[in-house]
Assembly symmetry: C2
Homo-oligomer: 120 residues x 2
DNA sequence: CCAATATATGATCATGTGTTCATGTATTTA
DNA sequence: TAAATACATGAACACATGATCATATATTGG
């Protein structure tokens, strides 16, 4: 059954009122994309580990790499993605760049996610 | 710089105390993986839309397909993933299968995510 | 029991992701 | 200012992901 068939379906066989209501209250396409993009960034074990340790203390790139047991390059690439999603912020101090969570929302998101996986 | 170099790094040039502390408080590997797996499931626009409309009302498969404008097969495949991550639950009533969010945590996660993207 | 209907699933394919390697850039210090 | 150090980035490759198509399964009504 294709999307076109569903359109027919909507008129002939299912629950058109529910569909209309769902559509009316749906997230705007752009918001759905951006929200998904944020969750997608959270959806990698390396990045989860990075964010979790950053929720405890500010760390420099090489510390993060050592803490999660991965190469500096890999960590740097991942930090780029985390920056792009505004999940981390950073400050340079000489040669060293210190990273931390962008705001408290991020830690709450992580905590809520942990809540979910622990719940059973 | 590789992971092995980081181990050296830890001894010679960086912040070994921070690294030890970060490691000590790190999420267990299995938790990090499971948490990331959950977020990864949330990290797709189609699934975000599905979850968002399901946060408002219980819907059958074909309704969901019509509401998000995709084929039944695609929606069914996605529902399988959402079930696997315990993000949705379902009940069968004759030929129709009704889906809804597995619990309120999911809606909170979505809301927290929206909070993040709206924050700027 | 057979046809119709709602949903589920396997295969396929184009596209996306994450790590590594090599190299580039910026800052400090000797 | 040259070497060293900390970090960033581009290319490449193996692997995962998501939509579609075809088909299977399950439930109901005739």
């Amino acid at each position: 059954m294709t999307a076109i068939d569903n359109a027919v379906c909507e008129e002939t066989c299912l629950h058109p009122e529910s569909i209309r209501a769902a559509r009316a209250e749906a997230l705007p396409e752009a918001d759905a994309r951006e929200l998904a993009a944020t969750f997608k960034i959270l959806g990698d074990p390396t990045r989860v580990k990075m964010l979790q340790i950053l929720s405890r203390r500010e760390l420099c790139v090489c510390d993060i790499a050592a803490a999660v047991g991965m190469g500096q390059s890999a960590i740097s690439h991942q930090l780029r993605l985390l920056r792009g999603a505004r999940l981390v912020k950073y400050r340079r101090d000489g040669r060293v760049v210190w990273y931390s969570l962008d705001d408290e929302h991020i830690a709450i998101l992580l905590a809520q996610g942990i809540e979910h996986i622990k719940h059973r």
